[in-house]
Each structure stands twice: as structure tokens, then as C-alpha cells.
């Protein structure tokens, strides 16, 4: 919980020296409470007061960083239970498992898929984030060799998985500079694992048998000065794992229960042998509070849906997704192809372009900037009206790309056709279907002359 101005004032030197830029300590305290000042502006504040203030202003769920450079992954920092309340901030990290008992071929396949399975969507690059490298044999040398191989072939983040501190040390030797996540500290090995995390400055996952045990461990570790922790509640059945995710998120947000104020890691790869089900389990954790999911493998048909789920769940609920305005060529249109115009609400764009593609009739799709509103809403708001659409069409340059003089507008915007014709001069405005599903039938009938 954030402190009030008065609570903060009690922690300040109360000398009113003014060096912080405001005349009194009380005024400074008020600015701090309103997040309008930085504590560093006061040179005289005590170390204890600093610690207490930092503690009080810390987010209820800590942000933990894994990896370095461009592909550094941030997890945690979430502030709500439901995405309509406020954007989910740090998307669930997707990790692929490799073990030291897999064949070279299996490892190579995963490395290859990790690299190639990338998708462009609404200006975003969607892809997996991490490798989970696991020691099954218990052989430190084998583990180090595998970690070295993974590290050399990918810039993705790394999770080191072994409960043997000796083996972990070997893994860290190979990749500590990449700030891997150490998985995991348990009741049995917490001390040596904590020492390794400290020595290498790496985040540490805590694996307990239930949330009480997890809480004891995280409390002990934070007392020892480790704060970059990630929680594995130990649950490996769907229902229990789901409930634990809810308990952890609620504990941190509703009760400000510090021992659970960390992001989580979930292991669908240990919850089923069925690859399809495993992917489905991962999508549950994307929606319900998983910080990282570890998968036994990724394939195009599993990763792509999962990435879409993640993109959808982590979209800002307030802002409609928007596509950039302009000309979109679908199916290689020519100067005799139909011209359709619609709004720049991403959903509208996706669906309309999908339907045009499905029709197999090459066409020009002109996207008008409606600030992300759908056709009907934009029309009602005056952003999809005759002159606006007309000017956009002219600006887009489409008038020079086709020989005919016909433009198809969405059925829902039929009312603008008169104004649009006026704006465009000698162009004919055709009213298309109201529902995008009817576009293919409409286009098949469309004739240039």
C-alpha cells in the first residue's frame, strides 16, 4: 500500500532545509505521496527511511527480468485480476523445454523451430521467449554442454532447471552473463541455490509443495536479500494449478500478502503427455495469471494459436486496436479490380481482408483512419462520413490505380453515399453488404463495366 503524505513526513528529517526544491519537508512528503517527486531529491533522508519508503511503494507483484539485451523478458508487475479493469502488463513468457537426455536431433529441432516460428501481426512480432534447459541425468558436464549449445544458438532467455546446486553451478558457469532464471530453490536446497543466485545476480524460482511452503521459502529468501523471485506452487493437476494461480494473484493484490507478491511459472509440460492438451493448458495460464509457461515442444500449429491467445489477453482493453490507414492489395489486384473501403478498426480490417481473400477476387482495400473505431461507431461519431472517406480515398492514390470509377462502401455506411459521390465528383458509390461474411458473394457478382 502506498503511504500517505503524513506517513512519509514522519520518515523525513523535518529540518525544512529546502534543498529538495520545495520549502518544507511536509511539502516534499506531499509531492512524494502524489508521485510528483523522487525521494533522491532529498540528500538527508536516512537509510532506514529509504528502505521503508521503497518497501511501501513497491508494486504488489514484483517485476522480474530474465535475460539480457533486446530479448530481455519482464514478468510480473500485474495490478488487477481482470483484464477489463486495467491492461495486463507483462505478457506470459513462453518457454520450450530441452533436456540433456534428448537426442541431438530433438534439441536441434526445437532450436530451429524457436528461431523460425515468428509471426507478424498488427505490427507486432509474435514468438516464443525462452529455453528451459533441464538436467535429467544429473551430470554437470552434460548440462553445461547443453546450456552452452543453447546459448550459442539463440538470443532467447534461458531457464536452468535442476534441483542439484552442483549441476546448477555448471549451468551458470556457461550462461550467467545471460541472466538466466534459476529453477528451482526448494526446501532442501534453498541455501546453496540462494547463494548461486546472489553470486551471479540471477532471478531465482521457488518451488514448494503448496503455497504455505512457498511462502516460507520466499520469506526466508527475501530476508536474505533476494527479491527477484518466481513462484512454482508445485501443483501439477489442472484444477489445483488453476486455483493456485488465482490464490497467488489474489493474495498479492487483495491482501498485499508479500510472500506471494511474485510472478509465477507454470509447467504444462509436467501436467500431461498429450501435446494438444498441453498447449491448451498453457493458454489457461496465459489468461489466468501465469508469468511463464514451460512447454515440452513448440510446433507451428501449437505456438501460433497460443501466441494469438497471449496477444488477445494482453491487449489494452481501453484502446481499440488500429490498422494503419492506406491501400491494401489483396490477391494481386489490377486496374480493373474492385475498390472497397472500410474503417481501421483492426478487427474490421482482419475480417474484411480475410473475406476478400476467401472470395479469390483480387481487390483493393482502402483503410480510412477512424481512430480504431468500427464502421458503425465511426459513422455515428462523424469519422466515417462522406468528405472524410472521400479525402482519404483521394490521398491514398487509389484514384490513379484503377481505370473504373467505382468504390464499394460498407452496408452500414449506406447513408454516406450521397456525400461521398459529391466529394469524389464523377465516381459511382456502390453500397456493399452489411455483414462481411457476404463479401465473397458480393465480389463474385461485381463487374467492372
Amino acid at each position: 500500500m502506498a503511504l500517505t503524505g503524513i506517513q512519509i513526513y514522519k520518515l523525513l528529517p523535518k529540518t525544512n532545509c529546502g534543498e529538495c526544491g520545495v520549502p518544507t519537508c511536509l511539502a516534499f512528503a506531499m509531492s512524494l505521496a502524489a508521485a510528483k517527486a523522487e525521494l533522491a531529491a532529498c540528500p538527508y533522508v536516512s537509510e532506514e527511511a529509504k528502505a521503508e519508503l521503497a518497501d511501501a511503494s513497491a508494486p504488489p507483484i514484483r517485476v522480474v527480468e530474465i535475460g539480457t539485451g533486446e530479448r530481455k523478458l519482464k514478468i510480473g508487475g500485474e495490478t488487477v485480476l481482470f483484464r477489463h479493469e486495467k491492461t495486463f502488463i507483462n505478457p506470459t513468457g513462453i518457454a520450450v523445454l530441452v533436456t540433456d537426455e534428448m537426442s541431438d536431433e530433438d534439441v536441434a529441432g526445437r532450436l530451429e523451430r524457436f528461431k523460425t516460428l515468428e509471426y507478424e501481426r498488427v505490427g507486432l512480432t509474435l514468438r516464443a521467449d525462452l529455453f528451459a534447459v533441464k538436467s535429467l541425468s544429473g551430470d554437470a558436464g552434460k548440462f553445461e554442454a547443453l546450456v552452452t549449445k543453447v546459448k550459442s544458438q539463440t538470443d532467447g532467455g534461458i531457464i536452468l532447471m535442476t534441483e542439484d546446486p552442483g549441476v546448477m553451478e555448471a549451468g551458470l558457469k556457461a550462461c550467467a552473463d545471460r541472466k538466466p532464471l534459476i529453477f528451482a530453490a526448494t526446501k532442501e536446497n534453498a541455501e546453496p541455490m540462494a547463494a548461486l543466485a546472489k553470486e551471479h545476480g540471477c532471478p531465482l524460482a521457488v518451488k514448494g509443495d503448496g503455497l504455505d511452503e512457498v511462502s516460507e521459502l520466499t520469506t526466508k529468501l527475501t530476508e536474505g536479500g533476494l527479491n527477484d523471485l518466481v513462484i512454482d506452487s508445485g501443483a501439477r493437476t489442472i484444477r489445483k494449478a488453476f486455483e493456485d494461480q488465482v490464490f497467488i494473484r489474489r493474495g498479492a493484490l487483495l491482501k498485499k500478502y508479500k510472500p506471494l507478491g511474485f510472478p509465477t511459472i507454470a509447467l504444462p509440460c509436467e501436467m500431461t503427455d498429450d501435446f494438444m492438451q498441453e498447449t491448451l493448458i498453457a493458454s489457461m495460464f496465459v489468461a489466468k495469471y501465469g508469468g511463464i509457461v514451460v512447454l515440452s515442444d513448440i510446433q507451428g500449429h501449437s505456438l501460433f494459436p497460443l501466441l494469438l491467445a497471449r496477444m488477445n489477453v494482453y491487449t489494452d482493453p481501453q484502446r481499440p486496436m488500429a490498422t494503419s490507414p492506406g491501400i491494401y492489395e489483396i490477391g494481386g489486384p489490377n486496374e480493373d479490380s474492385p475498390v472497397l473501403v472500410t474503417s481501421n478498426f483492426s478487427l474490421t480490417y482482419f475480417i474484411v481482408s480475410g473475406e476478400i481473400e476467401a472470395s479469390r477476387v483480387p481487390a483493393w482495400l482502402i483503410i480510412v483512419d477512424t481512430e480504431g473505431l468500427s464502421v458503425l461507431t465511426a459513422w455515428a461519431a462523424g469519422k466515417f462520413v462522406g468528405d472524410v472517406v472521400g479525402i482519404s480515398l483521394k490521398k491514398s492514390g487509389i484514384l490513379d490505380k484503377v481505370r473504373h470509377k467505382k468504390v464499394v462502401i460498407p452496408g452500414y455506411a449506406a447513408a454516406i453515399s450521397g456525400d461521398l459521390e459529391e466529394e469524389l465528383g464523377d465516381w459511382e458509390v456502390l453500397v456493399g453488404p452489411r455483414e462481411s461474411a457476404h463479401i465473397p458473394a458480393y465480389l463474385k457478382e461485381w463487374k467492372v463495366g
Binding site: G300, H301, L306, L308, N312
Partner: protein
């Protein structure tokens, strides 16, 4: 210092709606907690999956979705029977796609005939879904309501523009309706109020929030459903306390990513498994948001989701 589970205090419950013929009733709804939050409430009736059947042979389906049904796609009644016999369908959803004036524009009489045949072929509850054209749906669904008295069909979509005619028909001939609004909680509530004013009994109303598939605006529907449940269960919003039906398969399977072959899209993996996962994942996300009835297509996706419901309900 044992961790005490923070529980949410609910003050509302979802209504329980009996569906289907009297001889073979099933009930949906009745939740007293957020979806699968069974540590603090009950879900007396686990969510149900209705399998889709089309009134005419589908023309533009992904091969993956067509494969399980190639022997029955030309015969809706046989198709429905296969869904029940081979795949254990708990409900059937007859999609009257061919009635669409922009498609084959088949007549109300034909639709009545198909509905009767399908209804006679199965014992499980039957959903009958129109083509989403206001005038045509009014005509077709009204006729079906009249001619199928006693079947307790679930008729949808019932929109603001059609609610008077179809609401009255549902009352007169005792059917259930799916009240459909475009991804907006306030519009959903408003329509439920209108239906109540018209005299449609609460146990005959289901809510269709309008859903879309993964990657195509799913998040809007997901959040409308979560808000719907929040209002119903924690804010005593009585006019939102209805079971939710998600007609999801048609939108999942119509997008290009569900149809592309592996040659056309090598990065999207196996087309069948991809389609199955797109559908199953969409369904799972809607389950987590509050769906009570999922209208689905592919048997593999249905099996996955059914298993998941059991896992989430199980101990």
C-alpha cells in the same frame, strides 16, 4: 504463518435454465461463483458443448473440419445423429446458414422441415440458429417456433430488432431464446430487460454476447463475459444473471489461418491440429470467462475441451 485464501463474497447467482424436451431435460447455469472458482462457490451444472449441424452442405469449409462429417454433410438429421452417436454430443446446434438471402435464400418452409427432421432424429436439446438477417430470421424462426411446439428449442439469435416477434413466439410456443447483442454488456442488459417486460420467463432466456475467434477480437468478447459475470455475481445485477451461450465455431473456422494448407503456410504447422487448437483454445478462453454452452464443430476440439471441463471440475 499459514496463507489464508482471499475469497470473494458473492451476492448473486446465475439462473438455472432447463433445456430440451421434457423427456430429456438438461440444465445449464446455476453458478454461484466465477468460472471454476470452486473453492468459494458452486457450478451445479458443468458447461455443455453443442455440436454444429448445417442445413445445407457447407461449401467453403476447411478440409480439417469437413473430414469427420463427409458421410453426413448432405443430411442434417444424419449429421445430428452422428454427432450424438459417435461423438457423444450433449446438444445439437442447427445452423440455418442457407436461409441467408445472400446465400441460397432457402425458404421458411424448408427450414421448418429441416428443423423437424433434426429434432425427430435426436433426444438431446436442439439449438436453432438463424442467418443473422433481421427480416429473414424473424420470418424463419417464428415459423419454426410455431411448428415445433413442445420441443423447447433454443432459438437464436434474438436481437433487439427481432425480440418482440420472436419473444412473443417463444412465450406462445414455449421455447428458449438466445438474446443476442453485439459485444456490449449494457446492450445485453437492455435486451434482457426488454424480454422480461415482454413476459419471457427468466428460465427461457440465454445470453449470446456475440463471440469471435482467437486473434480476431476475442478479447472484447472475453472481457464482456467477465464483466457480465462480475455484475451478475457480485453486484446483484439481476438482469445479467443468465447462462451464456457462445456460438464460436463458425467464426473460428472462417478465418484464413484456419483454412490455409501446410504448403501455403509452412510456419503454421499441421492444418488439422492448428484448426483444432484454434477452436479448442477459443472455447477454453470463453469457458474461463463464463460460457455455459459452447457451440463447437471439430470432434477433436470438443474432446479436448470436454476433458478440460472435467479436469477443472474434478478434485
Amino acid at each position: 504463518m499459514a496463507f489464508e485464501i482471499p475469497k470473494i463474497l458473492y451476492n448473486g447467482a446465475i439462473k438455472e435454465n432447463p433445456l430440451g424436451k421434457e423427456s430429456n431435460r438438461i440444465t445449464v447455469g446455476g453458478e454461484t461463483c466465477y468460472p471454476f472458482h470452486l473453492f468459494e462457490g458452486n457450478m451445479p451444472h458443468p458447461p455443455k458443448i453443442a455440436m454444429e449441424v448445417y442445413d445445407a452442405t457447407p461449401e467453403d469449409w476447411a478440409q480439417a473440419a469437413l473430414d469427420p462429417f463427409t458421410d453426413v454433410v448432405h443430411d442434417p438429421a444424419a449429421w445430428a445423429q452422428k454427432c450424438v452417436a459417435s461423438y457423444g454430443a450433449e446438444m445439437i446446434a442447427l445452423q440455418l446458414a442457407s436461409t441467408d438471402p445472400n446465400a441460397q435464400n432457402t425458404t421458411a418452409e424448408q427450414a421448418v422441415e429441416t428443423t423437424k427432421k433434426v429434432a425427430a432424429a435426436i433426444e438431446v436439446p436442439l439449438i436453432v440458429w438463424g442467418c443473422c438477417n433481421v427480416e429473414k430470421d424473424t420470418e424463419v424462426l417464428k415459423r419454426i417456433a410455431e411448428e415445433c411446439t413442445g420441443e423447447n428449442l433454443i432459438l437464436g439469435p434474438v436481437e433487439e430488432d427481432t425480440h418482440k416477434a420472436l419473444g412473443a413466439a417463444a412465450i406462445a410456443y414455449q421455447h428458449t431464446i438466445a438474446a443476442s447483442t453485439p459485444i456490449d454488456i449494457n446492450l445485453a442488459k437492455q435486451l434482457n430487460i426488454l424480454l422480461g417486460n415482454l413476459g419471457v420467463p427468466d428460465e427461457r432466456i440465454l445470453v449470446d454476447p456475440t463471440v469471435t475467434g482467437l486473434g480476431y477480437g476475442l478479447e472484447y468478447c472475453y472481457s464482456v463475459m467477465e464483466r457480465d459475470r462480475m455484475a451478475a455475481l457480485t453486484q446483484e445485477d439481476e438482469r445479467l444473471q443468465f447462462p451464456i451461450v457462445c456460438n464460436l465455431a463458425k467464426d473460428v473456422w472462417k478465418v484464413k489461418e484456419a483454412k490455409l494448407s501446410d504448403e501455403d503456410a509452412p510456419l503454421l504447422g499441421d492444418p488439422t491440429k492448428r484448426g483444432v487448437l484454434l477452436e479448442a483454445m477459443t472455447a477454453l478462453l470463453f469457458l474461463l470467462a463464463g460460457g455455459d454452452i459452447l457451440i463447437m464443430r471439430h470432434p477433436d476440439a470438443i474432446q479436448l475441451v470436454r476433458g478440460f471441463i472435467n479436469d477443472l471440475m474434478g478434485s
